[in-house]
Each structure stands twice: as structure tokens, then as C-alpha cells.
């Protein structure tokens, strides 16, 4: 794979804030901002509409309904959802389910992603092929045999482990880790090897400190799957006190919502509740997407 880094002139990157635009580019900068704004509006409008819809006392599906009218706003829909499903317990279940998956993916995924990218060992090619295969195969093909295996062979019905197991290590995250480690200059590792460091030492002191952007990406990416997943947790758990929020909401949508005062609003309220933690997590993490000190790892 080609790399565009000139070896000899590798220096720590400059502070991004110090990069200034040449003056004639000022107009282009405004153009860029306008395009971004239009795009952002197009992207966020449906979500905004969802938010407004969830706050409406009476469903207003006309075009004018997009503008929130003070007389028609209330938190009633949220109250209804809270009364219908135990938001606290289901949120906790969602968190346990998601945390289990994220933990498994991060801990074991980094190890295997690093190994696939930078280490040479027998079976590496096969493992990579299997990893690709696991992502390509659609879940609907596997769902009933998987259910039989988890519930019958492993006896994990109605348990958090049963929910977590099929998602325990997200293969796409492994792919991302691998791709990320492939981008790290091999010289960093070879330099450490020449210095006599053991492979584990290299993993701990060289590879892991570098992995932060990939780690954040992987967490954000792995989080969404189990957080929004409905069918699998539903199949595995019938006890209400173990069901995650996505399942409880789907049940609510399919039944009780119809008899609510504003069924569509109640559904939107539920969806907003489901989306809120994911958005919050993103807001917290995206700050870290700044240049890393990659250059400082290479001496001379």
C-alpha cells in the first residue's frame, strides 16, 4: 500500500488554528459556509420536525405544523410514554446491553485489529476473510438458528448475556481498527522492535496510545447497533424488566399508541427519547477529533 509520507521530513503537525487562509479565499470560505448551512438544514430538518411533532398537544400534519405554536406545545406526550413504559428500567437495560457490546468490541477488537494489521502470523488471511464474511452475511439469514443456539445450546434466554452475545465483538469496528492500524507507519513499530521491545510491550506503549481517534469512532459506531436494536433483544427476552428501551418503545408503538391522544406525537416523543443519549454521546466525543501527535512517535 502506498503511503504519501515523506520519511525524512516528518515533523509534528502545526496547530490547526494557526493555518490561515490567504485573503482571496475569504469569499470561498463564505461560499463553503453557505453550502454547509444548507446541507445541515436539509439533514436536521426531519429531526427538528420530529422534535416539534413530539411536543404537539394535537397532531398537526399540515405544513404550518412545522413551526411550533405556543398554544399547541406540551410535554404531554413524554408524560404518556413515561406512564406506559418504565423509562428508568428500560434505559438501564439499554445501557447494560450497549455497554456490554462496546466493552467487548473495544477490548477484543483493538487486539485483533492490531494483530490483523501489523503482525504476521499463520491464519491471519483466513481470519480476515472470516471477518469480512461475518459482515457480509445478513442477520435475517442467521436469526432463527442463532436463536436456537443461544437459547437452547447455551441456555441464555432472558439474560443480558444472551442479548449481548451475538453482538459482542462488532466486526465492522474490527475492520475500522485494522484499517486504522494499517495507516500507522510501520517504522514506528520496527524502531521499537530494533530497540528490543517485546510484542506485548509494543502493543501497550506504541500502538494503544495512538488509537484514540479510531477508538472514539469505533465506540460511536458500535453504540448505535445495540442501542436501536429491536428484534434480537425482543426474541431473547420476554421479561419486561430485562427489555431495553428500543423494544419497549416498539411495543408501545404497536399497541398503546393508537389510544393515546396524539398517537403520532407519542411515537415521536419515544423516538426522541431513544435518540437523545446517542446524540449526547456524539457531542461529548466529537470534540476529540483533532490532529493527534502522530509525529512525536518517530524520532529523528
Amino acid at each position: 500500500m502506498t503511503r504519501t509520507l515523506p520519511r525524512a521530513s516528518y515533523r509534528p503537525p502545526a496547530d490547526p488554528a494557526a493555518v490561515t487562509e490567504p485573503v482571496p479565499g475569504a469569499r470561498r470560505r463564505w461560499l463553503r459556509i453557505v453550502v454547509l448551512v444548507l446541507g445541515a438544514l436539509a439533514f436536521i430538518f426531519p429531526f427538528y420536525y420530529m422534535l416539534v411533532g413530539s411536543l404537539q398537544k394535537k397532531s398537526d400534519t399540515s405544513l404550518g405544523g412545522a413551526i411550533p405554536r405556543p398554544g399547541n406545545l406540551s410535554l404531554h406526550n413524554y408524560g404518556q410514554i413515561n406512564a406506559a413504559i418504565n423509562l428508568g428500567q428500560t434505559l438501564l437495560n439499554s445501557i447494560i446491553f450497549t455497554a456490554g457490546v462496546v466493552l467487548g468490541t473495544v477490548v477484543f477488537g483493538i487486539l485483533v485489529g492490531y494483530a490483523l494489521a501489523q503482525l504476521h502470523y499463520r491464519g491471519r488471511g483466513t481470519l480476515f476473510a472470516v471477518m469480512v464474511l461475518v459482515q457480509v452475511v445478513p442477520f435475517q439469514l442467521l436469526i432463527i438458528p442463532l436463536y436456537v443456539q443461544i437459547v437452547r445450546s447455551y441456555g441464555l434466554a432472558d439474560s443480558y448475556l444472551g442479548m449481548i452475545l451475538p453482538f459482542a465483538i462488532n466486526s465492522t469496528a474490527v475492520f475500522v481498527f485494522r484499517q486504522y492500524f494499517l495507516q500507522v507507519p510501520v517504522e514506528l513499530f520496527d524502531a521499537a522492535r530494533i530497540d528490543g521491545a517485546s510484542e506485548l510491550r509494543i502493543l501497550r506503549s506504541v500502538a494503544l496510545p495512538l488509537v484514540r481517534p479510531a477508538l472514539l469512532t469505533a465506540i460511536l459506531m458500535t453504540f448505535i447497533g445495540p442501542w436501536n436494536e429491536f428484534l434480537w433483544p425482543f426474541l431473547v427476552t420476554k421479561q419486561h424488566d430485562k427489555q431495553p428501551l428500543a423494544v419497549a418503545l416498539a411495543n408501545y408503538i404497536s399497541t398503546t399508541a393508537a389510544s393515546a391522544a396524539n398517537p403520532y406525537g407519542a411515537i415521536l416523543a419515544g423516538a426522541c427519547v431513544l435518540a437523545a443519549p446517542a446524540v449526547a454521546l456524539f457531542i461529548a466525543f466529537q470534540r476529540h477529533f483533532r490532529s493527534t501527535d502522530l509525529g512525536s512517535g518517530v524520532k529523528g
Binding site: 483466513t126 472470516v130 464474511l133 432463527i144 428484534l231 425482543f234 411495543n251 399497541t255 389510544s259 403520532y264
Partner: protein
């Protein structure tokens, strides 16, 4: 790496496949005769519809108080499409409950083929109980081998609900709206849409899932054909004058944009977008406070549709599943939950019609207090069920696909589509 990928993948496939073939099934269902007499705690599932849950809870509590050694524990599963997938998966895994109060008659042939259902005839009074409770309607629920693998539990006879407010706005009578013949129905539909009272006259879901014909084609076909099922004696029956009449009628509705062709988010009748709906009494709870509704029988070509005209039953039944160990208790509990007393409670709490003969006489007090439900009670004795045949889901899917193409999207002549579907279905059921 890339050059090794394909052979590696092939090896993985082969290895996994051969290992699986070597593995057996493992596990057994309890022997039928011993299980039929066994008594002990059992597990049941019912739908998570709010009213049914309320009914279910009081029923289970009543039983548990009277039978402390044979306690029943209950869980809810959604009543929607996913429930079939859930039940099929649990049959395969061997952890299905003893009773499921949400078994769709269309899914029974598949569950039976999986070996997941217990024949009620295995119990000494099985067949007698079913026949005594449901009368002549029970016959439709027998499987091809002559046994009952389901107990006909409750029905939601499909009728035409209309929005009185919107009809009044369009200048149509709200006490005796002209909806008896196809011609009258079309006229009324045109009037209500052109007057601006509603966007659509009627708005059954246009999606292509296999069960959608149960709410547009099938109720009217039942009425028009005098009570025929879609398939009888291994032959499709709908490639007939009755079938063509119903299809022609709906084609008119769609062609004149009186019925919506796009997926609608929510309930179009409750929202007032559609002036009519083709649905059963379970929906009444959802319309309370939103729509001032009236109800009539589905139309037929020449009219004269009386209260006794057939319609689709939209029944949900109860079945005993083979994973059940204490089948004696399961059967006793089943009889308890469908006793006259519990059927009465079901009627009061959910407004759905137990599939019990002589409903109006048995619960005369209820129908006097709630006269708007009486018409459904009368219909319950004249419901038509989906045919109990193997491949039933595939048959309905084939029908829906051809309906979608010809009636909703007008890409094919409906009569030709009908006969093509009949040929295809005859091939599936022979």
C-alpha cells in the same frame, strides 16, 4: 491477502456446513400421552393490547387463586407481524409456552408442519368442547387431517365504519348511508371526497404484506360469494364472477383516487384523513373521543346485504404447543379461559367477540347496555376464516402480489391477474 480471501471463505463455508450436518438436533418433546395427563405450573403468552392484557391478568389471577399447585405465569408478546417470527423461533428452540392467546389461523398450518402444535383431539373432551362452544363455525378451524390444532377464540368481524361528522359535512345521511351496493358505495365515496369532507373515502393499507387482502378483498369476497373461502377443496375459488366483481369494485376506487395508494403513517380513519374504514370492533377503543362513528355491513354488488351476510372473521385463536409438559393443566386452563364467564369478561373488557354460538342470548345484558356492539355479535355467527391449508402464507402472498399489481397500481388487467393468481395458487396447494 486478497488472493487468499476467496479460497479461505470457501473453506470456512465448507467446514461450517459439514460440522453442522454432523450435529444432531438434541432434545425431545415430552411423550404425548403422558403429557396429556400431567398437571403442574404452566406458562402462557398473550398479546400486549392494553385491554387484552387487563383481561388476561384478571383471568390468570382468578385461576391462580383457585389452583395454587398449578400456577400460571403469563408474558406479553406484540400482536403484530413479529409475533409469528417469535413463535416460530420459540417452537424451533423448544421453549414455546404451553398456550399462546395470539395464534393467527393463517400461521397454524406452518406451526403444525413444524410439529409445534398439540391436537386438541388428544384430550378426551377436546373436539366436543370446541364444537359445543363454537357451533358450526368451528368446522373452518379443522386442519386437513380432521383434527383441531387451534381453539377458535375470538373474532373481529370486519365491517365498514364511517365517520358521521364527515358524512354530514358532505350531505350524506348518517343514519342510513347509501353503502349497500357497489354503485351506491362508489357514489357516496365520490361525494365525500369531492365535497372536501375527507381526503380519501376509504384507506386500507396498500402495502404488499400477505395479510393485507384480509381487510380489502376478503371481507367483500366473503359477502359477495355467500361465504366461500379463498381456496376450497384444493382449488382457488376466486376466479369467478364474485371475485371479479369485488376486484372490479376496488379497481374503481383506486383508479378514481378514492383510496390511497401510499403507505400512511398512523390510523387514517382516526385522523379523519379517510371517511371510512374496513375494520373490526377492536378498533372502537382507538376511535373513542376522536371519531363519531357508525357501522354498516360490507357492500355487495347487488345490495340486499343483511346483518347475516358473511364477512372476514379476523380471528385470533389459542393453541397448545408441544413444548408444554403439563398439558393436562394447559387444557383445563384453556377451558377455564374460554368458559361462559371468562368469555363474558373478554367481551366487556375488550369489545371483541368470543367465537361462541348464541352470543346475543348469552350476554343479553351486555348488548342491551352496549347496543352498538350488537351488530358485531350477529356477524360472528357468519364469519369466513382463512383456509386452513399448507402453504397458506405463500398463497396469500401470491394473491396480494397480483392484487397490488393490477388493482392498486393498475399495471395489469385485473381479470387476467385474477386468473393468473388462481393458476399459481392451484399449483401451490395441489
Amino acid at each position: 491477502m486478497k488472493s487468499r480471501t476467496l479460497p479461505s471463505i470457501a473453506t470456512v463455508f465448507l467446514l461450517a456446513a459439514t460440522t453442522t450436518a454432523a450435529c444432531g438436533d438434541g432434545g425431545n418433546s415430552p411423550a404425548a400421552d403422558t403429557a396429556a395427563k400431567a398437571h403442574g405450573p404452566i406458562n402462557i403468552w398473550y398479546s400486549n393490547n392494553a385491554q387484552e392484557v387487563a383481561w388476561g391478568k384478571q383471568m390468570v389471577a382468578a385461576w391462580n387463586t383457585a389452583h395454587p399447585t398449578e400456577t400460571v405465569s403469563a408474558q406479553e408478546i406484540p400482536a403484530g407481524q413479529t409475533s409469528e417470527a417469535v413463535i416460530a423461533a420459540s417452537i424451533t428452540a423448544g421453549n414455546a409456552p404451553c398456550l399462546i392467546y395470539n395464534t393467527s389461523p393463517a400461521a397454524v398450518p406452518n406451526f403444525q408442519a413444524q410439529g409445534g402444535l398439540v391436537a386438541l383431539d388428544d384430550f378426551a373432551d377436546g373436539a366436543n368442547y370446541v364444537n359445543a362452544r363454537s357451533g358450526s363455525t368451528a368446522g373452518q378451524y379443522k386442519s386437513p387431517d380432521g383434527k383441531f390444532y387451534q381453539l377458535p377464540w375470538k373474532s373481529n368481524p370486519v365491517m365498514i365504519f364511517y365517520n358521521k361528522t364527515e358524512f354530514a359535512k358532505a350531505g350524506i345521511s348518517t343514519t342510513a348511508p347509501p353503502l349497500g351496493t357497489y354503485a351506491q358505495f362508489l357514489d357516496t365515496a365520490k361525494k365525500v371526497v369531492s365535497s372536501g369532507a375527507a381526503k380519501y373515502a376509504i384507506y386500507p393499507s396498500p402495502s404488499s404484506q400477505f395479510f393485507q387482502p384480509w381487510f380489502d378483498f376478503y371481507p367483500m369476497y366473503a359477502a359477495e360469494s355467500g361465504g366461500k373461502q379463498l381456496v376450497e377443496n384444493k382449488k382457488a375459488t376466486f376466479d369467478s364472477d364474485a371475485g371479479k366483481a369485488v376486484t372490479g369494485f376496488w379497481q374503481q376506487l383506486y383508479a378514481q383516487n378514492l383510496a390511497g395508494k401510499e403507505a400512511y403513517n398512523g390510523d387514517s380513519f382516526a385522523d379523519g384523513t379517510a371517511a371510512m374504514a374496513s375494520v373490526g370492533p377492536w378498533a372502537i377503543a382507538a376511535y373513542k373521543g376522536k371519531v363519531d362513528w357508525g357501522v354498516v355491513s360490507v357492500p355487495t354488488q347487488t345490495g340486499g346485504a343483511s346483518e347475516q351476510a358473511p364477512t372476514f372473521s379476523d380471528a385470533k385463536n389459542v393453541a397448545i404447543y408441544t413444548a408444554c409438559k403439563n398439558r393436562g393443566t394447559a387444557w383445563d386452563f384453556l377451558k377455564f379461559s374460554t368458559s361462559a364467564e371468562q368469555d363474558g369478561k373478554l367481551l366487556e373488557m375488550t369489545g371483541q367477540m368470543p367465537l361462541r354460538q348464541g352470543l346475543e342470548q348469552q350476554y343479553a345484558a351486555y348488548f342491551t347496555a352496549n347496543p352498538q356492539y350488537k351488530v358485531f355479535a350477529v356477524k360472528t355467527a357468519h364469519v369466513v376464516e382463512v383456509p386452513n391449508i399448507p402453504q397458506s402464507v405463500e398463497v396469500w402472498q401470491a394473491f396480494r402480489d397480483s392484487w397490488s399489481k393490477s388493482v392498486i397500481f393498475a399495471k395489469e388487467d385485473p381479470n387476467k391477474a385474477l386468473s393468473d393468481a388462481a393458476t399459481k395458487i392451484n399449483g401451490l396447494v395441489k
